[in-house]
């Protein structure tokens, strides 16, 4: 039988690697569009982390965070897209 805390540790390490790569893209750009795409990706990683937390603590309420993130994510993406378009129009 697989040791569950150990499995969760491996999962969170893999998610940390993904987070590092996304952060690199978020910092380096080169354009604004790249940064917003990386920011969008952060939501997926955050949902992964909340799921891992739910497994380690065996408390399902941590998955409610995933629902909240899913709700907020769309608003943020739409706002960023609007910002980019408006910026392109003004130039």
């Amino acid at each position: 039988m697989i040791d569950l805390p150990q499995f969760a540790t491996i999962l969170s390490l893999l998610l940390c690697a993904a987070l590092a790569m996304t952060a690199w893209r978020l910092v380096r750009g080169p354009s604004f569009a790249d940064r917003f795409i990386a920011f969008d990706m952060l939501t997926a990683i955050a949902i992964g982390f909340s799921a891992v937390t739910a497994i380690v603590t065996t408390r399902g309420v941590f998955l409610d965070i995933a629902l909240g993130l899913a709700l907020i994510n769309f608003t943020a993406t739409a706002a960023f897209a609007l910002f980019l378009e408006r910026r392109a129009r003004d130039r």
């Binding site: 795409i37 969008d40 497994i55 998955l63 378009e85």
Partner: protein, 121 residues
């Protein structure tokens, strides 16, 4: 049943990792978005489903709501961002001039002149 949950979780996390590699390595914003949206839809769906099976405490309604919301909103968000990034004049690999002229000229409200001088980098 536990094995199924572990496989789902590992698959979701590995997919997220692969998407992050794609985000880092692919050459232009639209291709990076192609990679990132996969992680957002399939990766998170697998992770949330795996948690639903593995943890007794999770309410199925929360899981179904989360997955439904992600599947509905992420493609729309990706489309909005892709349109915005194209309009903002990002440099696309293999594209040297305005590839979709209708997109910029037909829309009266967005009077944008697409030219090479607006390319970043």
């Amino acid at each position: 049943m536990t094995i199924l949950a572990l496989v789902l979780l590992a698959g979701g996390v590995l997919l997220t990792l692969v998407a992050a590699v794609g985000l880092l390595r692919l050459p232009d914003p639209l291709q990076r978005m192609h990679s990132a949206t996969k992680a957002g839809t399939l990766g998170t769906t697998l992770i949330v489903l795996g948690t639903l099976i593995l943890v007794d405490d999770v309410r199925p309604s929360t899981t179904i709501l989360t997955i439904t919301f992600l599947l509905f909103t992420l493609p729309i968000g990706a489309q909005l961002l892709g349109r915005a990034s194209y309009l903002s004049g990002v440099k696309l690999k293999g594209v040297t001039e305005n590839a979709i002229p209708e997109m910029l000229s037909a829309d009266e409200t967005h009077d944008i002149k697409w030219d090479a001088t607006r390319l970043r980098q």
